[in-house]
């Protein structure tokens, strides 16, 4: 069952580029599967093969649990395979300047806090991580702040997602299922549900 997610502490991997689309996070040919198992092998597959220096190739970042990213992260295709592949690679929180909305929703459904920070703060964090890949960062979803040693920066997350994560209610399926009677009542008042008979 889902747990309460209030903080994520770990080392970080940085990818401070804008408009990283989900085809880049996981190219479409790796969506030929009927389960999400094993997707971690394909995260940023093409980018990693063409750039030996890609941060996800860097030995020092292999245990990273926090991803630092740019603006409009996760744009394009709605494939949940994208956050699934990141999660299965080891990412437990993402700090970016902004997100594409479907990707953000998918992250929340998986219990991955996707928080935002200013570009300036992200740039500083990337410098910290480059200088010391073992630096431990703490993303505090409850207090909406990120700590890096002695430094604390503000982060943000929409209240609905923050609430869902910190109360452990990010498994929306069980909540939605509980309201099935209300769903039926709603359906009854919608003209097309009765073939426009009413």
């Amino acid at each position: 069952m889902p747990s309460e997610i209030t903080t994520v502490t770990g080392t970080a991997v940085h990818l401070l580029l804008d408009d990283i689309d989900t085809d880049r996070i996981i190219p479409a040919r790796y969506l030929r599967c009927v389960s999400f198992d094993g997707l971690h092998d394909h995260v940023f597959k093409d980018d990693r093969e063409h750039d030996p220096n890609h941060p996800f190739n860097d030995e020092r970042h292999q245990d990273a649990e926090i991803l630092l990213a740019g603006r409009n992260f996760g744009c394009g295709s709605s494939r949940e395979h994208a956050p699934q592949s990141l999660m299965r690679w080891g990412i437990r929180a993402i700090v970016a300047e902004s997100y594409a909305e479907i990707f953000f929703g998918n992250c929340t459904s998986l219990g991955i806090p996707a928080v935002t920070a200013s570009r300036e703060d992200l740039e500083k964090l990337v410098e910290t991580v480059k200088a010391d890949p073992a630096a431990q960062l703490t993303v505090d979803i409850e207090k909406k702040q990120l700590t890096d040693g002695d430094t604390t920066i503000p982060i943000d997350i929409p209240e609905s997602a923050r609430h869902a994560l910190v109360t452990g209610q990010w498994d929306f399926l069980s909540q939605l299922v509980e309201n099935r009677d209300a769903v039926k009542t709603t359906a009854e008042r919608i003209p097309y549900m009765s073939g426009y008979a009413n």
């Binding site: 580029l17 804008d18 408009d19 689309d21 085809d23 880049r24 190219p27 479409a28 040919r29 969506l31 030929r32 009927v34 389960s35 999400f36 980018d47 093969e49 063409h50 603006r71 409009n72 744009c75 394009g76 295709s77 709605s78 494939r79 949940e80 395979h81 956050p83 902004s98 594409a100 909305e101 479907i102 929703g105 998918n106 998986l110 209240e159 609905s160 997602a161 609430h163 869902a164 109360t167 209610q169 929306f172 399926l173 909540q175 939605l176 299922v177 309201n179 099935r180 209300a182 769903v183 709603t186 359906a187 008042r189 919608i190 003209p191 097309y192 549900m193 073939g195 426009y196 008979a197």
Partner: protein, 473 residues
């Protein structure tokens, strides 16, 4: 007091089941479309929890992404594709969902099938595990692309947990010049508003340019809302919408149709509707458009040059440089004359009958340039049948285009249709992302189907207006 809610808010309110502890709305979904790529794990989630599909009649399945467009004999040569195909067959059988498979002449790209079968109707909330679900907004629906966990939510409860987006009215007025198509309009809007411009918004497309469009053109516009960052996009229903739906298999029939039509038209945003933001463009400023970069906002009018890097905001310049270097293009360069290797006409954006007709007009009597591989892939079996009845396939084949079976094909290359190496593809699809068309280093130029046909016969990017018959005197 008059109701000043725009269509989006009226439809949202009608479908609101309640407010969740997170503050999100639990929203009823009237039409759920599923396909083979994003549904297998969702059915497994239902199995794990012992849940059933709550309204099996409100979900329709088809197969499109992995479907080979040449040899469709089963089992498929690609074992993984075959496994996905078997999974959707088994899941639909087990959970009581109608599947329009390859043997069914209603099969096709999910966003072509919904409208042509009359499943997509004004005032319906639509969801599908595919970001181009925004296509259905052409009918005055609110239509969301969703992830696989959310597909499970809709299967089990017919609802989604959603935050209500704001609504931005995107107005375009005036007539489109010859050679300028719906695709050019949406590429222009994305270029002007940016690929992040729509974040947090639903786009309402309004104004005389959209009023004059056919439903197919409206679908092309709404299809690419997601490329502009919008959560969805829609156009208010009008007589064009009603007439399109009349007589379609899943549309109401007889008296019920007239009642439905009255309700559909009543949903349109009133002239005094309220919006969170608005922007206005002039159709006269839009010319045939081509992308030069690696996101759909990086485009130019075909008579223009690629803008200087310095003309972009500072924070975007790194991305612009990356795009130019990947594409091996330079600022100041014209796209006209750029050699292509592949021409692709198809996809949920531009694989409908009117797209094929426009492309055939350009192809007719011409030959695909030597060395260019050109594919025409109808969006659905119904479109394919219609095109063959009109003899379009003969025009394409005589001109040297390959005429294929319905599917997503080279739009995203989850099937055998792929770019090789550094090939450059003139494509009527929706995304020019790095690697999108199957080769990690392949390059995509997005444009209208007529522009793709023009590029195919000339072997390079061409202003389609030079190939049109003069109109009038």
């Amino acid at each position: 007091m008059s109701d000043t809610r725009n269509l989006f808010n009226k439809v949202w309110d009608l479908h609101t089941v309640g407010t969740l502890p997170s503050g999100q709305t639990q929203l009823f979904i009237g039409l759920h479309l599923i396909h083979e790529v994003t549904s297998p794990q969702a059915f497994d989630m239902l199995r794990e929890r012992g849940l059933k599909v709550m309204y099996p009649d409100r979900t329709i399945a088809t197969v499109d992404h992995i479907v080979p467009t040449d040899n469709q004999a089963r089992p498929f040569a690609d074992g993984l594709a075959e496994e996905m195909m078997s999974a959707i067959e088994k899941n639909c059988r087990e959970f009581g969902v109608t599947l329009l498979d390859l043997k069914d002449d209603r099969q096709g790209i999910v966003h072509a099938v919904g409208p042509e079968q009359g499943l997509t109707q004004p005032g319906v909330t639509v969801a599908c595990g595919d970001s181009h679900t925004s296509t259905h907004g052409a009918f005055g629906t609110i239509a969301f692309g969703i992830g696989t966990s959310q597909v499970a939510h809709v299967l089990a409860t017919q609802t989604l947990a959603m935050n209500r987006p704001q609504v931005k009215r995107v107005e375009v007025n005036g007539e489109l010049a010859p050679g300028v198509f719906a695709k050019d309009v949406i590429l222009y809007i994305i270029r002007r508003l940016g690929v992040k411009g729509g974040i947090g918004y639903a786009y309402e497309y309004a104004g005389s340019t959209f009023d004059a469009m056919t439903m197919e053109e409206r679908m092309t516009v709404c299809n690419m809302s997601i490329e502009g960052g919008a959560r969805c996009g829609y156009i208010n229903p009008d007589e064009t919408t009603v007439e399109y739906l009349r007589g379609r298999p899943f549309a109401p029939q007889g008296e019920a149709f007239e009642k439905a039509a009255e309700w559909w038209l009543s949903l349109a945003s009133p002239s005094d509707a309220e919006y969170d933001d608005s922007v206005t463009f002039d159709a006269a400023d839009i010319e045939p458009t081509v992308t030069w970069g690696i996101n759909p906002g990086q485009s130019v009018g075909v008579s223009e040059e690629i803008p200087a890097v310095s003309s972009y905001p500072k924070e975007e310049q790194t991305g612009v440089q990356e795009a130019l270097s990947f594409m091996e293009l330079q600022a100041g360069q014209s796209m006209q004359g750029l050699k292509i290797d592949v021409a692709f006409i198809g996809s949920c954006t531009n694989g409908r009958i009117s797209d094929l007709r426009e492309a055939a007009r350009i192809a007719e009597g011409n030959q695909v340039a030597p060395g260019v591989k050109a594919l025409v892939v109808p969006g659905s079996q119904q479109i394919l049948k219609q095109a063959e009845e009109e003899g379009l396939h003969k025009i394409f084949e005589a001109a040297g285009f390959e005429w294929r079976a319905a599917g997503c094909s080279m739009c995203l290359a989850m099937n055998p249709d792929k770019l090789q190496g550094r090939e450059i593809c003139a494509s009527s699809s929706n995304r020019n992302f790095k690697g999108r068309q199957g080769s990690p280093t392949g390059r995509t130029l997005l444009m209208s189907p007529a522009m793709v046909a023009a590029a195919a016969v000339n072997g390079c990017v061409t202003d389609v207006r030079e190939m049109l018959e003069p109109v009038g005197v």
